[in-house]
């Protein structure tokens, strides 16, 4: 815990040196809180330390900070009122859903109001014939599928936190899940958004029709990590539930063979509903928990799911099995019934909790790479374990090339937090070198802000800032997250300057 505090203290000054416009005169914090209280219903503004404590972090618990206040509006008019007051006072606003984000997108800061959308939790309407659901941002991801189930429909993106995470947060992060290879990310399953800008304007973005006039702001807003606007309503696309699903469990005696099998499945023209990989340490950790009967001697196992009509699934499962054997699988098991299918998946789902038994702390990374580089990157991670003297287990969305290395550490041991962070950074930079990305589905938030300087050049970062200014001139929405200032990249020593020139050299930057 001491180590955590130190990291937090180190980070705190970084958090507070965001890019908020200092020029505007504002209310003193006490006055703003008072005016929020007068504007919102009783109990909708929290400001006492014990009330603020539950909001000090999201699921990236390494970084903790108390917000100035927490506002809990109950409808769009109240959201507008909060934004209006904050805009007038030039006080930053950080939107928050369920706080399950892993990259610190909802990490508070002491000079900002935390805007919780948790009370906007109504399913406004569900149209089974148009296959759409209109929901408020605080509705849980799984609640949408539950509401759609009686009509044989569901909402496809299923991040692992789907029991708790909200659709508003999914939109902010463009969340993925186990099934996005076949069914897409959040961006592929949205039809429309109502968004309130920091100036209090309501934007109706997208529609229930297949397209809309003008720019594709729906794509731009999805995954914008709360920097461009606050979502007050989401219309999602529902799809028919597949009739059945079966899973192939394939074991491999070498990581390289498992990596090749992943590429071979895709190369054979199969788009599985899910294709996940677990390495040996993960298998060993989860088996005592779930008794799934995983082959403990395997270096890696793949779980490959097929869904659809029964005959179609039968056909695809046979092809998957033959590809797996062709790639050198030492063993292939096909789930015989729904119970067995769930058992095969149980270990994958229990992987993160099981790590808790192996190590007091773990750090979950989220890089993406071209699938064909899987084996090479996993080998490189093994080498890094030696360099940092920390263990790292791998359980991830292999079909998407989306790695989730779990770095195991103990925050009570001096310097393990720092080593875990450095290890994580090196993995992300490796992903960029391999032609991938520093984040496949968790977002940049505060966690990966330095690595943005590795993935993007100064010109692209400047373009992101220009997009930000187009929506939020004074930089009041979630400042300091997702897109680093060029100044920060220079400090981090990773400003990637293309052709030896920084864009607009006349502007003061450093």
């Amino acid at each position: 815990m001491i180590a955590l505090q130190r990291i937090f203290a180190q980070h705190a000054d970084k958090v507070s040196c965001g890019d908020v416009d200092d020029g505007a005169e504002g209310l003193v914090p006490g006055e703003l809180i008072e005016r929020l209280r007068r504007t919102l219903p009783a109990g909708a503004v929290l400001s006492r330390p014990e009330e603020l404590k539950p909001y000090e972090c999201d699921a990236l618990t390494l970084y903790r900070q108390m917000p100035l206040a927490v506002a809990l509006p109950a409808d769009e008019a109240q959201v507008i009122a909060v934004l209006h007051l904050c805009y007038q006072a030039k006080v930053p606003v950080i939107a928050r859903g369920a706080g399950t984000g892993l990259s610190g997108g909802a990490t508070p800061r002491p000079d900002a109001v935390l805007l919780s959308l948790a009370r906007l939790n109504r399913i406004i309407g569900l149209d089974p014939l148009a296959r759409t659901a209109r929901v408020q941002p605080g509705v849980r991801n799984l609640a949408i599928s539950e509401a759609a189930a009686p009509h044989g429909l569901y909402y496809a993106p299923d991040p692992s936190s789907q029991i708790a995470c909200t659709i508003g947060g999914n939109v902010a992060e463009n969340s993925g899940g186990v099934h996005c290879l076949k069914y897409g990310l959040t961006v592929h399953n949205l039809l429309a958004l109502r968004v309130v800008t920091i100036e209090g304007e309501v934007l109706e973005i997208g529609s229930a029709a297949p397209d809309s006039p003008g720019y594709d702001l729906l794509a731009l807003l999805t995954g914008s990590e709360g920097l461009l606007g606050v979502v007050t309503e989401v219309t999602v696309r529902l799809i028919p539930k597949p009739q059945c699903a079966r899973v192939v469990l394939a074991a491999f005696d070498e990581l390289t063979k498992a990596g090749k099998a992943v590429a071979d499945v895709i190369g054979a023209g199969i788009i599985p509903a899910g294709l996940e990989m677990m390495d040996r340490p993960t298998i060993a950790a989860v088996e005592p928990f779930v008794h799934a009967g995983y082959p403990l001697e395997a270096e890696a196992i793949l779980l490959c799911e097929s869904d659809g009509a029964p005959a179609e699934v039968e056909e695809e499962i046979l092809r998957i099995e033959s590809v797996m054997r062709g790639a050198g699988a030492t063993e292939c098991r096909v789930s015989r019934d729904e119970g067995e299918r769930l058992r095969f998946w149980a270990g994958r789902k229990a992987a993160f909790p099981a790590m808790g038994a192996l190590s007091p702390d773990y750090y979950c990374m989220d890089g993406s790479i071209p699938r064909k580089r899987l084996a090479a990157v996993l080998q490189a991670i093994r080498q890094l374990e030696g360099k940092y003297q920390l263990r790292c287990t791998n359980v991830f969305h292999a079909g998407d090339g989306n790695l989730h290395p779990l770095i195991l550490f103990d925050s009570n041991i001096a310097d393990e937090v720092a080593r875990a962070e450095a290890f994580g950074s090196e993995i992300l930079e490796l992903c960029v070198r391999e032609g991938g990305s520093i984040t496949g589905e968790h977002g940049v938030g505060i966690e990966k802000i330095n690595q943005m300087c590795v993935q993007f050049g100064a010109g692209e970062l400047e373009a992101f800032h220009a997009v930000k200014r187009a929506f939020d001139e004074h930089g009041l929405l979630n400042p300091g997250k997702a897109v680093p200032t060029l100044h920060r990249c220079a400090e981090f020593g990773r400003l990637h300057v293309r052709g030896g020139k920084i864009p607009h050299p006349q502007l003061p930057r450093f």
Partner: protein
């Protein structure tokens, strides 16, 4: 000097001289969108596939690459573009296809063009060469500028290279035909869409509904049995005619309206023949029609109407108007990428 550098120089010079530029690939969609303004900036020379990884389901090519070349390359790997774009008589380039954002018959069932854009390289209105997105399926670092480019009609930047996600070709395919009037066709398409059927395209015109099934052999067979209908021979040629708008319906009109509606919208009370696609969400109507009345009608159902093809472009633009708040954001975004407003001025909106 490389092709890219000379394009950058050209844009920088145009920006300095405040000279509008009109970006053109194959010129196959000169008819589409608002006015054509400025000096011609040809991109066709910027051609060629730069990266093709069948096991990654990814292809990258320079913007001037003919769509046909891309399709041929993908076909050798039994892959294709899922959104089934029109080749506009063979002249369409990849850049123009992405800039227009137009998708073909599969769109309603497999996703729109923008869903498959993974990365772009652009030159913005200042002449800066910028790269967004990448070549991996999952990438949420930074704002999604790549998808923003889809359908922006070249008003935010000159596309120079594009990476798209590809999909495997279906193993089996067949097309069924049903005699139905418009309300019955709408009703059937809506009902089928709520079931897990491997439908990949629908088209209705003059009392005939065509439904294409694509997927695993067993799935296609089972769906055929479940739906009934008459099996169509040489159906690929029919769907190509739909995609390329070579059917009599499209040839017979000089003014063509494109109406985009939410699923489960009724038949529109508009006189004259209609052609429906995308499960009824896309309606083509022959003009001339009262544009403002049609737009009000489309808006009432939650959709919008585009004057897709017209002999004379109206000054208010060919697309449905934007709300004041949306127009403000559009103007600011335009200014972020093209502050002097030299790229395809007026093509997407008179004020952009």
């Amino acid at each position: 000097m490389s092709d890219l550098q000379s394009l950058q120089e050209r844009i920088r010079a145009a920006a300095a001289a405040r000279q509008p530029l009109r970006i053109r690939g194959g010129g196959s969609k000169d008819f589409y969108g608002g006015r054509l303004e400025g000096e011609l900036l040809e991109v066709r020379a910027l051609s060629g596939i730069t990266h093709c990884e069948p096991t990654e389901l990814v292809i990258s090519a320079r913007a001037g690459t003919p769509l046909a070349e891309l399709a041929r390359e993908l076909a050798t790997h039994q892959q294709m573009l899922a959104f089934e774009p029109s080749h506009f008589g063979g002249r369409a380039t990849l850049g123009g296809t992405v800039a227009s954002g137009l998708s073909g018959p599969r769109r309603a069932y497999c996703g729109a063009l923008r869903d498959f854009v993974l990365g772009v390289e652009i030159i913005d209105g200042r002449g800066e060469l910028l790269r967004f997105g990448g070549r991996v399926i999952k990438n949420v670092a930074g704002f999604d500028v790549s998808r923003l480019m889809a359908g922006s009609l070249g008003t935010l930047g000159l596309l120079t290279e594009i990476t798209l996600k590809t999909v495997p070709c279906p193993r089996a395919q067949c097309t069924l035909r049903f005699e139905m009037d418009q309300p019955a066709a709408l009703e059937s398409m809506t009902r089928w869409a709520t079931r897990p059927l491997p439908i990949s395209a629908t088209a209705w015109h003059e009392g005939m509904l065509s439904v294409r099934l694509s997927g695993a052999e067993s799935a296609v067979r089972a769906a055929h049995e479940a739906l009934g209908g008459e099996l169509v021979a040489a159906a690929d040629a029919y769907w190509e005619e739909v995609t390329e708008q070579r059917l009599e319906f499209f040839a017979a009109t000089r003014e063509l309206w494109r109406v985009s509606l939410p699923a489960h919208s009724p038949a529109l009370p508009v006189a004259g023949p209609a052609f429906m696609e995308w499960g009824g969400s896309l309606r083509w109507l022959q003009g001339p029609l009262d544009g403002s009345a049609l737009r009000a009608l489309a808006a009432r159902f939650g959709g919008h109407a585009t004057l897709y093809r017209t002999p004379v472009r109206p000054p208010e633009g060919t697309f449905q108007s934007l709300s004041a708040a949306m127009l403000m954001v559009h103007k600011r975004l335009k200014a972020a990428f093209d502050p002097i407003r030299i790229l395809n001025r007026g093509r997407l909106h008179p004020d952009l």
